[in-house]
Symmetry: none
Subunit: 218 residues, 2 copies
Amino acid sequence: MKALSERQQQILSFIEEFIEEHDYPPTVRDIQSGCGISSTSVVSYNLDRLKDSGALSRDSEVSRGLKLAGQKSGTAAPVGIDTVAVPLLGTIAAGSPFPMPENDTWSDLTGQELIDLPQAIVGLGDNLYALKVRGESMIDALISDGDLVIMEQASSVRNGQMAAVRIKSDNTTTLKHFYAEGPRTRLEPANSQMEAMTFNSSDVEVISRVIAVWRYMG
Amino acid sequence: MKALSERQQQILSFIEEFIEEHDYPPTVRDIQSGCGISSTSVVSYNLDRLKDSGALSRDSEVSRGLKLAGQKSGTAAPVGIDTVAVPLLGTIAAGSPFPMPENDTWSDLTGQELIDLPQAIVGLGDNLYALKVRGESMIDALISDGDLVIMEQASSVRNGQMAAVRIKSDNTTTLKHFYAEGPRTRLEPANSQMEAMTFNSSDVEVISRVIAVWRYMG
DNA sequence: ATAATTTCCGAACATTAGTGCGGATGCAAT
DNA sequence: ATTGCATCCGCACTAATGTTCGGAAATTAT
């Protein structure tokens, strides 16, 4: 195996830096100017050498068809833990209309702020989204201003779970522990020092299940 | 925010797959044939839309100058978010001796349960550790049984921050908001409905600063 | 229905970008 | 020196690639 010339190493590391910066490989002319070479053919020539030596692979006749040899194939995760991207859909405040992804736009979350959470602590639940809590209206559920609540879409929950529920007659929305008791539904705050309230089950609409709460005060 | 059309989503996922396979972005014509579009201008048009919506960024006039928005910069590490491994040192309960890593064993965390948290939401703080809360003794700090508190070693904190403090005379340890007021130190729970308490500053020892709280009820 | 908007088409056009080729230049072996 | 080989130059050429524009078609709003 022939050793790489200085120029070849220079080109190689330029390619590396370029990809690092742009997320796509350089053109022959990018390399030319980047390495202070006076002719594209020189680049072409050395690229062939590098290909021969196996330092990089190349889709010929294709612009930017370069791939560093040492590079991981594909984008499959080489390191890093499994994460779930959770869209931050908005804020939640007492009584405000509760933000919630509509079915048809569920897959259309582009542009939304995404929060990466480790799968290990979120679980692999689907249909997750996050809301930022504004105000102290959830204080009785041990949730305060600035907290991030991770929610999962659900139309029903098991007794005892915390959920975002809407009292139709009040048109208010809060987070409470949910207990269905036949025709009546009892909602009790997480703080046991607070009083529970009971409503007609038909007056209570479950919107989402609360998966987790994240409070950061760094 | 305008929703993405079907075609735009189609293009978006094609780009994603293409990069996955080639390690460099597709050309307009790659997208054209890949998505069964009859004109390059349609691709160009939708690429502009996608750029407007922020779904991808684009180096215009540059071949293959595409970059997916969600993508981490730098292809070297294709995916995987930065995470910080936080050791779960034990549990905290009212009055119990507060677990805390000793300096000489700090680096010896082998066998400890580690919790990976995204750096983005934890910050890059060093000397972090986690404790699981047992019992409802922290209820007045909006922290309940089963919660995970992320802490940072600290011997002092700024006023208003939440910290694990030990009342020497009581030999109790709790989480409270901390306010140094000269010779006296006021500790007040996060729940404003609760009363604050004041102690001689010399009787209060700061153990750790609370960085974050994680409550999971999946 | 009618108008407005969005999306698509086709076909040119203008760069950008990869390749080829004759001829230097530099260096080492003969 | 002369030869051989690896590099490098310039330049031209062709293919690849992004852009533009008038108008049609589809969709949505009025």
